[in-house]
């Protein structure tokens, strides 16, 4: 195993930087919810997985990931929740209602990627 010198930036990879508390996404950004299946505990409902939405707002304070908090770890790196708007028709292929009807929901930063389209 390679020894990483202490001066090397990757040495700091698992150290929480204050910079990480700056939100990664901005209001109006198009984002996609990642498709993955953690076991044990999560707060991203299955109906959202892989769905595309737009960032409506950023929850101001950063928080510990509730997937670790659920197991009693109340400290550690803090990231942001984003309030995301998803069209109902994006989530449900059989949606009955108006095209503009939507879901608004807070999603933790680690679950989002930029929707480059």
């Amino acid at each position: 195993m390679a020894i990483i010198p202490k001066t090397h930036p990757t040495y700091l990879l698992d150290v929480t930087s204050a910079l990480n508390e700056r939100p990664a996404f901005g209001v109006g950004d198009r984002v996609r919810v990642l498709v993955r299946f953690p076991v044990g505990h999560y707060r991203v409902p299955i109906y959202l997985r892989g769905k595309k939405g737009i960032v409506e707002s950023i929850i101001a304070s950063p928080y510990v990931d509730n997937e670790t908090e659920g197991f009693g770890h109340n400290a550690g790196s803090r990231l942001h929740y984003y309030r995301i708007a998803f069209p109902m028709t994006e989530i449900w292929s059989d949606y009955v209602g108006t095209q503009t009807d939507s879901v608004r929901i807070e999603v933790y930063e680690t679950w989002l990627e930029e929707d480059a389209k």
Binding site: G40, E69, G70, N74
Partner: protein, 107 residues
């Protein structure tokens, strides 16, 4: 049905699943239910057992228990399990205390 679904989808993750019409039921909490709620709040304030741990603890009971126990029944069983995991209580200690309470209250 693949057993993966039992693991991948938490029992409480029910958004979008088929369900019955809504019946607008409500009931005034029984005194013990209110005490249980207050207990949940107090142990969350001190982060002895947080709201998030409680949610996880309820999910961990599994769908059969979740389906059959009432709301606060699920909470108190989840609390007991988490306190055992944390080493704050032991199963024997709780069993002895429950026997003591039962003898005292029921005789």
């Amino acid at each position: 049905m693949s057993t993966e679904e039992l693991i991948k989808r938490l029992p409480n993750d029910i958004g979008g699943m088929p369900a019955d019409p809504i019946v607008q039921v409500e009931h005034a909490l029984e005194p013990w239910e209110k005490r249980c709620h207050a207990l949940a709040d107090v142990i969350d304030f001190h982060k002895i057992l947080s709201t998030e741990e409680k949610r996880r603890g309820v999910e961990a009971l599994g769908s059969e228990v979740i389906g059959k126990l009432s709301y606060y029944e699920r909470w108190i069983v989840a609390f007991a399990n988490i306190f055992f995991q944390k080493g704050i209580l032991t199963p024997t200690e709780l069993a002895q205390k429950m026997a003591e309470v039962e003898a005292r209250e029921i005789g």
